[in-house]
Amino acid sequence: MHKSDSVVKGNVLIYLLVWTALFFIHFTIVYFELGLSIESALADSFVFNIMYVLIGASFWYPVKYMSIDIYSTPRLIMNHLAAAAITTGLWLVACYFILTSVFEFQQEYYDFLLSSLIWRYAIGILFYVVIVSLIYVYVTYSDYKEKELNESNLKVLVKEAELKSLKYQINPHFIFNSLNSISSLTMSNPERAQEMTIKLSEFMRATVSKNEMQKAPLREEIKNARLYLDIEKVRFEDKFEYIENVIEACENIKVPSMILQPVFENAIKHGVYESIEQVNIILTCSKEAEYLKITVENNFDPDAVPRKGEGIGLQNIKNRLKLIYNQENLITYSKDGTIFKVNIFIPLEKENVL
């Protein structure tokens, strides 16, 4: 356990203040009630209390070595009773020795001292019990506080890890297929091969750097989508057409980075790839109440049997949006005849609300 210096200082101060109060109470009793001389009353209350201040400070150790989590309750009580008996005995012996050897008082005082030892012993035990109990309470409380702090730290870490695991990853097959297209173009059309190499590099660089960020302006996301679709266009040629319908005011709105990529990959994989006819991929962005609404739709061949893996990318988006915005249902998808439609809703921050 690491406690800051200020906390330790505060605790020591409280400890000393309490003992100062006890000193005055002690003095009041022996001077006013029991009628000791002022010197002997002062010496008596000073010696007994200052000695307990020193002994009491060492009670941290039995508490530290006898944790409530490890020791059974009967054993804990036995051990502490033994410790209380011994420390209180030592305390009385030490005080008695100091008061008899250092000071010289009237015999009356020493008679009183001897007769009051049994009471002092009882009070010493009581002090022990009170101090040790307080220390246990304090330790348990600060353990609890620490645990709570650790737990909230852990929650943040889990959320971060979850977000990380949901981040977009480049599909290796996309890379291999693109490289194959490039390999082919180097023979038939070197210029286009070079163009495609550059586009692929740009896409990969953007993906890698974007994954470092949590959010990016929609404009960047769209730019990346165009790059991706341009690359796929080399492979699929006229098999698909990309249409963009974006309101300018939406372009600066920040969205989770790479949030659209899986949707376009989905459209390519299930729409373009499985179809023999031409497929249209349409992107629409608009503001709707407190949301930026992004829609991607594509037609598909209803005869094509859906392959497994559909929905994993979309499921990831759903989980990511939920973690980031703390809202459910920020993505919806529907199949209507031959049109597959994905809607993503990004909650607008205040300055972006219409």
Binding site: N177, L179, S181, S183, S184, I276, D301
Partner: protein, 248 residues
Amino acid sequence: MSKLTTIIVDDEKLGRDIVRNYLKNHEKLELIGECGNGFEGIEKINELKPDLVFLDIQMPKLSGFEMLELIDDPPLIIFTTAFDQYAIKAFEVNATDYLLKPFSKDRFNGAVEKAIKSLNSGKENAKLNNLLTDTKYSKEYLERIAVKQSNKINIVPTDEIEYFEAQDDYVMIYSEKGKFLKKKTMKFFEENLNPDDFLRIHRSYIVKFDQLENVDISANESNTVNLKNGQTLPVSKSGYAKLKERLN
């Protein structure tokens, strides 16, 4: 020696371009056809009877593997694909070689040499004769089955299937859209269908669970089960025990 004939089946033009380019002025191979999908592939292979086919695996609607299942006397096959996860399956259907895209000309020529060698030695096992075996060749369960029905190719999603019935060397597939004959064994289907959906209830029958009309699981024995479509199928003793266990 006359040149060996070959065709390319690949849905991507750029994919076909590479192979065509590598085959240009080839001493031992002659390119006699190109196909952009599996359906054309079946037609061309049956018509031109090439010695060797360069075959892509992932193609729309009909995959390379599904296409092969529908060819009666398949030629030598060299798979060309960007996906390495099909290598084991390719090996199990006795493919001559498996080229991972993009591949070099040397690698390509190596595959061609292999094909020529096995053709010259006339080894029967080099042929794709294992296609019709019972091998469970993938951890993925079947999601669709390609069938041929009087020269028309149908893709039957397993979701639409009601039950399977053994018929000698064939299996009759009964689906919502009709019945289709497939040259496979019952064992093949038993192993490759998702056991969560299908159960072999009899030597000659595999049934889809959601097609069953309420089964009386309290009865000790039964010789038949009823389907939702009103049909009655025989069930064996062990089949009934499995069915009861499953429904419990």
